[in-house]
Symmetry: C2
Subunit: 152 residues, 2 copies
Amino acid sequence: MPDLFTKLERAAWGGFIATQSRIFRLIEDDLRARFGLSHTEFEVLLRLYLSEQGRVRVQDLAARSLLSTSGTSRAIDRLARAGHVERQGAEEDGRGAYAVLTEAGRAHFEQAAEAHVALVRREFLSRFTPEELAQLGGFWERARPDAQPRTA
Amino acid sequence: MPDLFTKLERAAWGGFIATQSRIFRLIEDDLRARFGLSHTEFEVLLRLYLSEQGRVRVQDLAARSLLSTSGTSRAIDRLARAGHVERQGAEEDGRGAYAVLTEAGRAHFEQAAEAHVALVRREFLSRFTPEELAQLGGFWERARPDAQPRTA
DNA sequence: TCAAATTGCTTGCATGCGCACGCAAACACA
DNA sequence: TGTGTTTGCGTGCGCATGCAAGCAATTTGA
């Protein structure tokens, strides 16, 4: 491994890793300290917030996140204990369950989201010009699984 | 949050997140399935491999990784059980302990590292031209904590 | 010189996670 | 309608992790 990557590759990949781990740690710590939320819980609240009625089926939450169904179920447990969401049986399917954002949860999330965005701007986005941001966006498009490598 | 980010920001930041989580998942799964290693354990082996004598003090390992001292201690436990490393008391300090790479561990790591590099190339590096890789490297420099935001 | 403070590492405990499993509801289909 | 299968969710279990505490070795300082 010491020489398996070229200098160029090391700068591109190693920097990616370093940046990612640094910023994620900051986000985790900030959300936990100021809002009592894990990144996972924040993601769940985000999905609920973006949804029409502020409610989403457990399964849909799991599918959209990186969490398993059981992990999602437990995240909802924690959020429910904190009063941010409530469980609600699905009328149209007796097996199903909704997680529903409470008013308190909505307010709490809005504050957390604002802080989150500020942190991402401060630690990441603000370092680049608009042109560079667009360029980054283009890079990520090409990093997607279905995209083709340069040398096919 | 729905409109807290601009389109431009969303492309740059959201793509970063998506790329990161996708590739890390691939790496984790591959290392686990083919080499029985977690990313954490791989990191520990890497540090040992890069060291002079194939041995590093527990504390130094912890400082370089994202793991706590206790987490490092347990990672060494697992690697020792698998025969990849051995513990060795420090001659110069009776409290200290080295993790030492065994020959088997070295061979195992070399294979894992090769596979790791291949995966990173296939899923990430190969998507970019050398110029773009250099550009990415430059971006990560500016994303470092000590770097200044564009608009100071 | 020797007791107090510090250091290096390990261990008990609590937490979050995924996997496998269980239960109940829904569906398929004869 | 009845039975076998599938689906949606929650729960038991094992594992990895961080924090706080413990233990032994070293360093400090009067």
